[in-house]
Subunit: 492 residues, 2 copies
Amino acid sequence: MSKEITSRSEDYSQWYNDIVLKAGLADYSAVKGCMVIKPHGYALWENMRDVLDRMFKETGHQNAYFPLFIPKSFLSKEAAHVEGFAKECAVVTHYRLKNDPNGGGVVVDPDAKLEEELIVRPTSETIIWNTYKDWIQSYRDLPLLINQWANVVRWEMRTRLFLRTTEFLWQEGHTAHATREEAIEETKKMLEVYATFAEQYMAVPVVRGVKTANERFAGAEDTYCIEALMQDGKALQAGTSHFLGQNFAKAFDVTFRDKENKLDYVWATSWGVSTRLVGALVMAHSDDQGLVLPPRIAPLQVVIVPIMNKDPEAQARINIYANSLVSELRSKGIRVKFDDDDTARPGWKFAEYEMKGVPVRIALGARDMENNVAEVARRDTKEKASVSLDGLSAHIAALLDDIQANMYAKALQFRNDNTRKVDTWDDFVKVLDEQAGFVAAHWDGTPETEEKIKELTKATIRCIPLNYEQEPGTCILTGKPSTQRVLFARAY
Amino acid sequence: MSKEITSRSEDYSQWYNDIVLKAGLADYSAVKGCMVIKPHGYALWENMRDVLDRMFKETGHQNAYFPLFIPKSFLSKEAAHVEGFAKECAVVTHYRLKNDPNGGGVVVDPDAKLEEELIVRPTSETIIWNTYKDWIQSYRDLPLLINQWANVVRWEMRTRLFLRTTEFLWQEGHTAHATREEAIEETKKMLEVYATFAEQYMAVPVVRGVKTANERFAGAEDTYCIEALMQDGKALQAGTSHFLGQNFAKAFDVTFRDKENKLDYVWATSWGVSTRLVGALVMAHSDDQGLVLPPRIAPLQVVIVPIMNKDPEAQARINIYANSLVSELRSKGIRVKFDDDDTARPGWKFAEYEMKGVPVRIALGARDMENNVAEVARRDTKEKASVSLDGLSAHIAALLDDIQANMYAKALQFRNDNTRKVDTWDDFVKVLDEQAGFVAAHWDGTPETEEKIKELTKATIRCIPLNYEQEPGTCILTGKPSTQRVLFARAY
């Protein structure tokens, strides 16, 4: 099976598509730009969602659900917002079909035209802030900390499974606060939740930063982001958290009375991550044999494959032991499966679970059993070891932790190796072309220079990292003075 | 707060709306027919979803996700299906807005008209079976047991919060099988999952039955259903499970090779429940003081309200005890909150938690503490008791079980009291008008008679119950022979 995958060195882009399709993560659909998320991909997304959802609740947020449709006029209320989203939206204009009087199946019923068109939400700030108007009157109603898990639609001309699809699944947090300071604090807090999730669960190290004005969310005063580096040296934005100022409160007239009974507009944040994270996960860790999944979010953490034996007694011993091992591992909270399907050969199963990224595989053969050992293979390094059955479940639990840590360490090493300080234009172009990765360089702070660099090199400023020190320098393009390096890369 | 609710006897319909709004379950939205599900309502739906999701997985199903949009031509492929759904769908005709050249905000860009219109899914049989065509070739690919959690849209002219909204949340299972028998078995199995969920978690007794031809899902060979009785004597369909025969396999050309290498069409089922269940839950149990929730799915099961004391030492003792009780209850898996907000009075909190349906309230006062007791109030019967602090958490755990059982028993008693065998037309009309409830009566089995009875009385055949015995009789309307009673009611 693995030989059907294109190798990374041959064609990284094709390798990615091969993995997504062959590991059963997603499939193309009959609707242009939309994908079908297959069971293995959806199980992965469910695990990611469950962890994030717990983190949101632990930081005081509640879930709610707002309408799929947004009246067209709502989009126009925030000037920057409509500029950003009007160009790529699905528009509902009618509410009924009818039989074609000329016998051509069903057609849109012209009598069922909507008075005002409805937009399928590309993001929900407008409909939510229109609702918050009714929910917020006093400082007692604040902060309002709400999250929504939903599907959204942005009409994309060029799509890629998980990374850029017309419809995608995501969560969008929308909070309302009494003060600017509190809203900024919330924006940063949720960025840190995302960063923690990416690093501790996805095993993907991220750079925390703030976007330049060019790259800001349409309607935000500041967009914070986490940026990850993929194995081909391209960057991927893995999550954003926006400080929206009072823009949406003003657009939808959401005011509150403070403790002194003074009327003021409410301060807002919004933040989101999407099924794009599944794409990031694939690109960060997988190899030429298939998916490599970090144990903490892998749908299946351990698979036990019996080496079938013709001697029924030997086979029975394998089965009895395997079932007891399953119980033991489950009691430790480990997601495990005993694959005793006797219509498939062990070698086929090995390749299949390798493709699907199961972190640990245990093979149980009669001879091994006699020697009181099992063969344990880890997916990340592909190392195999003969491990004593005594204390095997504790060994496996520790191994899963080790794989999680190792995957993060490897990705961090890769990112460190591929983040380069550059001080001249020639070096900048050369590094981008020959080595890719993140480039830390000085920039004069103007949108014009940023735009020019993008035109010349296709590299964008991924972010102004939050942890970079102030450091005087000169802009790589214009030579003008700069106070801090920013992070450039070509990006997904 | 409770005095703002209309009583059931005064206006049942208004009572329902009052509860949904004032208990914070949902709100109207700016989009006609669409609702906002508020945090308390969404938390309830999440609990219902989590239980159902576990039950689906335990019966071998996996989750996946299919596109929101369905190409218009797909709807036409199954003749009955398009008849059922074309009349009430949201149609996407364009994919872009642009600035109005006349300065009127944004308008639909006429240059961005879709070649083929897209329908926002009213249900997903068509897009899913079009996908299954690629996934199924051999009997080895069967059964295919997939479920999807999603939003769907059916354009409704008259809507009611939760019960009938243009957009709603639901799950839809779509399974594919090698034989008719296996598909029918699946259809019945999932009906039983729904019935178990309704009875054991929602504490709502249901009648398991099969729909008449008139009431079948558009495209099904048989529709099984569970029917519940609301407090006003009207019936509510709480879930359906459809045996689709080979209709969709034929419409989308989904065939498989069996073990003998013979080609045949695949057999299908689909089954779903929706946020409508939240409406059923409200109508089945709540009272004139607000929501009454069964403990097993209540977002919050126990609330501890301190009776604030001016003596800081007494207050400290209350707080210390309350926090230890919270830990003890949590360790038993009980969802509990200690509401120590000192800006609200105990009486206000009592009314608030009563309105929100929290099953158990524990009030802790200084004098009670001295006497080593707490006041424990149960929401279902509104009984209060002074309970010893010794073993209080065990008492609460048992009380929650008792409330769950009592709510079911009460609802069952109500349904039994309101299910009446009727043998003449006069009695039929009289019972419907004067007593409402379920009416078990003989029917001649024809769609014409069913239609006529509906016209004359607004009562429909809710189902042909699965557990009713064969029993010769004569149709209440036509006097023609009948072999089994069916269940009539006016319904939501």
